[in-house]
Symmetry: C2
Subunit: 270 residues, 2 copies
């Protein structure tokens, strides 16, 4: 039996590339077996939390989309970088200049955005025009101490029609242009995983993270002592299994197979 | 007398930020005293070459613009990354996917661009849309061995209405997304400076480079044994004078002052 299953009480799931692939006219497609996999995790009483770096929509909109695909998921089960950044603004008195997707803007409705003292960058997709990226650059360079908050640092993600540049690429562009280092809110930041565990009331060694991003999902989880299992769906590429720095605790074809293995181990253990 | 003047037989000049500031309805404004400074360099018989990372236009268009501002300059006096990249394509059998400014496209008219085996990135300005940058990313990730050629690696440059992101920021974005290192054609690449010296028939110790970019102009020149003088025009910022890695051989308020100092030293020397 694979060792990544022993003593697991909680499952953390990445969403894009594990539950569904985004893109296309319907906003995406569920990955076969994943809707049932969620139900099976719930049926055996395992704790469950969705850990996403999704920043193209508010958490509420994102959950509604997944529900429409047929997923049994509610907003309070989701850990996402938008709400985490919102909290950071309030805690630290930050007033953001936002370089984010239009659909994420409502997450910051109640935040003071006058006279900005930081830049928040998310997966802005088409909003990453030269003009918008340049404006964020100019705001940063106009600050005495430039502060850049990045909603994740992913290199790319998979849409139904191909791989797409993620926020991390634009974070690097601004880091280089301004000679600064961004603060990442979202995976692979330790705080992000630890806040998900706190919501569930479990310890790192009792949880397993399932994701398609070897660095941000698997490496990030492992840096907190959480086991990480890589799925061969979403942005997965075969070279991820020989990554120079990150070795997953398990490799599975998809979420359905991860749940098969996890549930089989529980039958054996009990 | 400043030591950066001794034994100088040739002057290499950066253009944007030294001769003129780009931008605005007329395409830019000459920096006061720079038109006369060029004439004075010529009058005393110093060799002269313009070393620019300009990649928003063909060399021919760029020179015509400068002539319109009143500069005495001809196309064969300019070392620019577009023609250097063009030569590289021919020498190495490279077929580029181009992510460049529309006005640079004619530089690659005679180059085979079918079935691309590399990406060439220049200062594409408004052409740096999400769609275009993403397309370049997809081409790179589709290559067995991704090759990215960057026309310079500047962080930003100055237009009349503010600082603007330069090609280096987008080079970093693609490097990060694809986990590769770009090959830089243009400053600060040694080959670029050495080819300018070869055109003039002088040795590195006989030349001085005048520029507004402490890393690409001054650091690049010094790495070849050419002295570097930083002007306080263009993108210059006071913090450049305490740069952690690069110390210029001289600092001057503008090109006119550099020429004053250089010519005064010749009078004294003779």
């Amino acid at each position: 039996m694979a060792s990544w299953t022993s003593g697991v009480r909680a499952v953390l799931l990445d969403v894009s590339g594990v539950l569904y692939d985004s893109g296309g006219p319907t906003g995406g497609t569920a990955i076969p077996g994943s809707i049932e996999a969620i139900s099976r995790i719930r049926q055996v009483g395992l704790k469950l939390r969705f850990c996403t770096n999704e920043s193209q929509a508010t958490r509420a909109q994102f959950v509604r989309k997944l529900q429409k695909f047929g997923f049994n998921i509610s907003e309070d089960e989701v850990t996402a970088p938008g709400p985490a950044a919102r909290r950071l603004m309030l805690e630290q008195g930050l007033r953001p200049h936002l370089l984010v997707h239009d659909d994420l803007l409502p997450e910051f409705d109640s935040i003071d955005k006058s006279d900005p003292n930081c830049v928040v960058i998310g997966d802005a997709a088409e909003n990453f025009s030269y003009q918008n990226v340049n404006r964020a650059f100019q705001v940063l360079l106009g600050l005495e101490k430039p502060v850049l908050i990045s909603l994740g640092k992913g290199r790319y993600y998979k849409e139904t029609d191909g791989l797409m540049l993620d926020v991390g690429a634009y974070m690097k562009a601004l880091e280089y242009a301004c000679d600064i280092t961004a603060e990442v809110v979202g995976k692979p930041a330790k705080n992000f995983f630890l806040s998900a565990l706190a919501e569930l009331g479990v310890q790192p060694h009792e949880a397993v993270m399932v994701g398609d991003d070897v660095v941000n999902d698997i490496g990030g989880a492992q840096s907190c002592g959480i086991r990480g299992v890589l799925v061969r769906t979403g942005k997965y590429r075969p070279s991820d299994e020989s990554h120079p720095e990150v070795k997953a605790d398990g490799y599975v074809d998809n979420l359905a197979q991860a749940v098969d293995i996890l549930l089989a181990s529980r039958t054996t253990d009990q």
